[in-house]
Structures are given as C-alpha cells and as structure tokens.
C-alpha cells in the first residue's frame, strides 16, 4: 500500500510544515548568523519583535477562521490606541481607558458584522471601516501622535524573566484563544460557521451569531494590539500600521490553511509569526537592508498559499483514487461470485 502513505505525508506536511520550516530556518540561521542568532537574548528579541504583529495575526486569524478577512484591524488598533491615550491624558484611570479602547474595538467589530450579515461584501465593509476608524483616530489626535502619558510601561518595555511584556500578552491571547477553539462548544461552532454556515443552520444553530462573534473577536483583539503598540512605543499614532496587516495575514497563511475559513490553529499562526520575525532578525544581524523583510513577507504569503493549494489538490486526488480503487476491488469481488 503506497498510496495511503502519500496521503499521510501530504497531510503531515500541511499540518506540520510551518513547524519544520521554523526549525529548519532556526538551524540554518544559527549557523549563518553565528554566534549571535542562536542566543537566548536574540531569541528574546525575535519574540519581542514579533509580539505586536502576533497579536494582530490573532485578530486576523479569528476573522479568517470564521470566514471573513477583516481588513479593518489596523484602523481599529489605531483608534483603540489613541482613544486610550487621549483618556489617559485627560487623567482617566488607566484601566478605564484600556477598557474603553477594547469597547471601541468591539463596537466596530460589531458594525462590520452587522453590515456583512446584511449581505454587503466583507472586504468592502472592512476597508470602509479601516478608513472610518483611521479617520476618527486622526480626529482624536488632531494630527501628531499623542504622548506624555505614563504608567503603561508594565505592558510595554518592562521585562519579566528576560522577556518583554507584550510576549506575555501574546501568550494569554493565544492560550485562551486555543482553548476556546479546540475545547469548547462555542469554538467548534465558530469554526463550523466559517467552514459551512449552512451545515450549522441545518443543525438548528444560529450560524449568524458565530459569524458575528468572529468580527467582534477580531475587533477586540485589534484593540488589544493597539493598546500594546501604544504601551510599547509610549505614543499613540493615528496612522494605521497596515504593515501589521500583511505580516498577520502571512502568519495565518503560513499556518497551512487556505484563507477560505473553517479551519485553523492559533499555535501554528504563532509559529508563522515567529518565522517572519526570524527572517527580520537574520537580515538585521547580517546587515542587510531591512526593507527586504517586507519583500520576503509578501513572497512568503503567496508561496504559503500556493503550497497549500498544491497540497489540497493532491489530497483530493488521493482521496478520489483511494475511493475508486476500493470500489473497483469490491465490484470485482462481486463478479467473482
């Protein structure tokens, strides 16, 4: 039996490709960037450097898992950040300001969801929201970035056990997200809504509720990303960091899923995000212009999707061949009698 082996190999590649890529790059870069790359300090830098875009990757991933590519993430993040900064500069309690940013994220997520569920194209809706939120953010700041607020270091530049604070935010987001997606009823239905909402509907479940949840989670996580960005840079800019959209999307694609929804694993998105950061790190170590990392991110995005498509096609082919072979064998058996 050679065929099932091919199938298992393909599935294995799709499931674990990103982890293998991470490990391979790590070994290769450790050799190439010796002795700097493979150290704990550099790894801490890689994690820290990746952390903010990893939070945005989670926001984008939640949208994609539930079946919608949410392009408004950078705008909501910028608005969340400046709302928090503005409130803090107005002497509002830190936690209240943070909560306000998250609520803003949730509201715009909800707005995206309502428009999309009424039948508008999600890409158009979320681009509209991107424009609205970044415009509103500029209205709040009235131009230059806001700065001069204090008390956010614990979430920004402070180190705990040698790792910067945002890394822990990433850990919390990814651990809770993974538990939700893999262990709970809500998570199962959430993924089902992205994969085949009709199946959910026919099972008597309100599929729209879970589609809505996808947008709201995406908005809330975008706001969390905005908060951490503000804490890390000690200023709140109204300019949406669209680059984070690309790295986030690339991290999701690298996790080995098509962007069609219904599947996905946050831990793999995390590894995907680290791979992008690994590449940025080696470029810095080797003194190569950092702009190349943007080029490579784009190539990785396209490459990852192409790879996924090729594997998907092969898998379908294999499944069909197996089915036909089994049938032929059975039909033959029947005629023998």
């Amino acid at each position: 039996m050679r065929k099932p082996d091919t199938l298992s190999l393909l599935v294995f590649t799709r499931s674990w490709g990103i982890v293998i890529l991470f490990a391979a790059l790590f070994v290769a870069f450790s050799a190439w960037g010796f002795p700097i790359f493979g150290t704990f300090d550099n790894f801490s830098l890689i994690l820290g450097g990746a952390s903010i875009s990893t939070i945005f990757a989670a926001a984008i991933a939640m949208g994609i898992f539930s079946g919608a590519l949410d392009l408004s993430v950078p705008g909501i993040a910028a608005l969340g950040g400046v709302v928090m900064a503005k409130l803090m500069l107005s002497e509002v309690n830190l936690w209240v300001a943070m909560l306000a940013a998250i609520v803003v994220g949730g509201i715009f997520g909800l707005a995206n969801a309502i428009c999309t569920l009424r039948g508008l194209n999600p890409l158009a809706v979320t681009i509209g929201t991107l424009s609205v939120t970044s415009g509103l953010a500029a209205v709040v700041t009235n131009g230059p970035p806001l700065f001069g607020f204090t008390g956010l270091e614990f979430l920004g530049s402070d180190l705990y056990f040698g790792l910067p604070a945002p890394v822990y935010v990433v850990a919390i987001v990814y651990i809770f997200g993974t538990i939700f997606l893999t262990q709970t009823r809500g998570g199962t239905r959430f993924l089902a809504a992205g994969g085949n909402a009709e199946a959910l509907r026919r099972s008597g479940v309100n599929a729209n509720l879970y589609k809505l949840l996808g947008f709201v989670l995406s908005g809330v996580l975008a706001a969390v990303g905005g908060i951490v960005t503000t804490a890390f840079t000690s200023q709140a800019s109204s300019l949406p960091a669209t680059g984070s959209l690309f790295t986030g999307l690339t991290a999701v694609a690298l996790s080995g899923i098509s962007l069609a929804g219904g599947r996905g694993s946050l831990p793999k998105v995390f590894v995907g995000s680290i791979v992008i950061s690994e590449i940025a790190s080696i470029l810095a170590i080797k003194n190569i212009q950092p702009f190349w990392s943007t080029v490579i991110t784009g190539l990785l995005l396209i490459g990852a999707l192409a790879g996924e498509l090729a594997i998907q096609k092969q898998v379908s082919k294999q499944v069909v061949t197996q089915g036909t072979a089994a049938n032929a064998a059975l039909a033959g058996k029947k005629e023998d009698k």
Binding site: R185, A192, G195, R202, G204, N327, A331
Partner: protein, 262 residues
C-alpha cells in the same frame, strides 16, 4: 383509503407555479409511517420541487399538507423540521475541516460534567463514543471517526450526512425523512450501504420519501413507486405490482398514466 391519522404525510391538490410555469399540478401523495416511497421522474418532471414543498423550502400555490393528520403550513425548512421532517440535501452540508463525530453531533454537542461543562467545554471522548454508537446502529462504515470529513470518500461523506439526518429523525417519535438523490456519484459498496440504511430507517417506522434516478435502488428500497411526468403524477403503485419497463414507460411518457390519474 387509509384514515388521515394513520398517514405520516399527506399532500392534497398541491399546485405550484413558477411565474406562469406550472411546476406541480394537483399532486396528491400519501406516505405511511414505516413506508418508503420512491419519487421518480425525468429531469424537470417536478420531483425535486415536490420534495422542496415537503421540506418547506417552497410554498405551494395551492393545496394542503398534513403531517400525522394535522394540517401544517411551512414558511421555511425550520418549520418542517419542527414538524419532524428531515431532509438530506444533495450538497450534504458537511463541515469539511472537522471530523465525523463533530459533524454528526453538530448542534447537539456533549459537554463535560461539572463546572467546565457549564462554560461550554466539550467532552470529546463521550462525543466520539456517541458518534461510534450512532454510526454502528445505522450500519455506516467509516474508517476513522477522527479524520476530517474532507478526507473521506464520497460514499462515506454521504454516509455521515445521512447518519446525521437519520439520527435526528429517529429521535422524534414519528419522523419523516426526505432524501434527494442519495446515491448520485456513489460507488457500488456505498450504494448498498445507503440502500440498507434506507431500509433500516423504514423498518424503525420512519416515513421515507426518496427522490432518485436510480431505478434499481427504487425497486429494492421502496415499498411504493410514484412517477411524475411534466408536473403531473402519472403513476402511484406498489413496487411489487409493477416492473422496470412499466416504470420507464411512465417516466418517459411512452406509457399512458394510470387509470384515475389522467
């Protein structure tokens, strides 16, 4: 004529117009509990339309539907589901990326006992066992319940979709199961499996309406054969009292409609 309470499903004088086109004209159809009725006809004869009327997807222009002797009016598939009617669509509606157990138990997932269950934690082990039990009861052969259904062959996918509806319909006291081309694009073994499932469902007192192009399936699984031709019912006869040639004649229109059905 059987009394209405003894019928699982009774359609009377169903007319349906698509604009000026008459898709169904004065269709009467009775199905008893435990009976399998095969609905045959050429493409465009109206059999799928009739199935959609029963499942609540289409509202008839005229006519009445009774379920277990009670008049009903369906505005959506949800209404018909509430009345105990389950439909297996040709498109199956499976969540490809998830495994058999999850697909089978979608909407009725099993939660863990205790505090974790209160916040929605799944009992995966119990779900797998429940799925295994249900699948075994229905006689469906599926290699592994933990494989995503996209990795299953066409027949096994059909099996999962059928099993899902079958389980739901058998949970109700007097269920009605509607099947739209359940064996289209299936291999030999899988056809046999579907056929046996249909027989098993009927044996457990479920009323089955089977739309198909597959005459051998109709003859082996159905108790009664109903033929539609150009929106009209042209034959309604017990399977044992007819044969392949007659049925083909009715389907193609080469044979005159049965007495009383002209």
């Amino acid at each position: 004529m059987a009394k209405n309470e003894e019928l699982a499903l009774s359609l009377k004088g169903i007319d349906l117009y698509y604009g000026y086109v008459r898709a169904l004209s004065s269709i009467n159809l009775d199905v008893k509990p435990g009976e399998c009725v095969a609905l045959l006809g050429d493409n465009g004869a109206g059999k799928s339309t009739l199935l959609k009327v029963i499942s609540g997807a289409h509202k008839p222009t005229q006519g009445t539907i009774e379920v277990h002797g009670r008049g009903v009016e369906f505005h959506s598939p949800r209404d018909s589901a509430a009345a105990g009617i389950e439909m297996v669509y040709q498109d199956l509606a499976l969540v490809d990326a998830q495994d058999t157990a999850t697909n089978l138990l979608l909407g009725r997932e099993i939660l863990r006992k205790g505090p974790l269950g209160w916040i929605g934690f799944l009992d995966r082990k119990a779900m797998k066992e429940e799925a295994k039990r249900e699948v075994a009861n229905l006689g469906v052969k599926i290699d592994t319940l933990t494989r995503p259904v996209e990795m299953l062959s066409g027949g096994q996918r059909q099996g999962v979709a059928l099993a899902r509806s079958a389980v739901r319909v058998s949970k109700k006291a007097q269920g009605i199961l509607l099947l739209d081309e359940p064996t289209a694009a299936l291999g030999y073994e899988q056809k046999v499996m579907v056929e046996q499932m249909i027989k098993r469902m009927a044996a457990s007192n479920i009323a089955v309406v089977l739309v198909t192009h597959d005459l051998p399936l109709a003859f082996s699984a159905a108790d009664r054969i109903v033929v539609l031709n150009r929106s009209k019912k042209v034959a309604d006869i017990e399977t044992s009292k007819t044969n392949n040639d007659e049925v083909v004649g009715w389907i193609t229109g080469a044979r005159a409609a049965q007495a009383g059905l002209e």
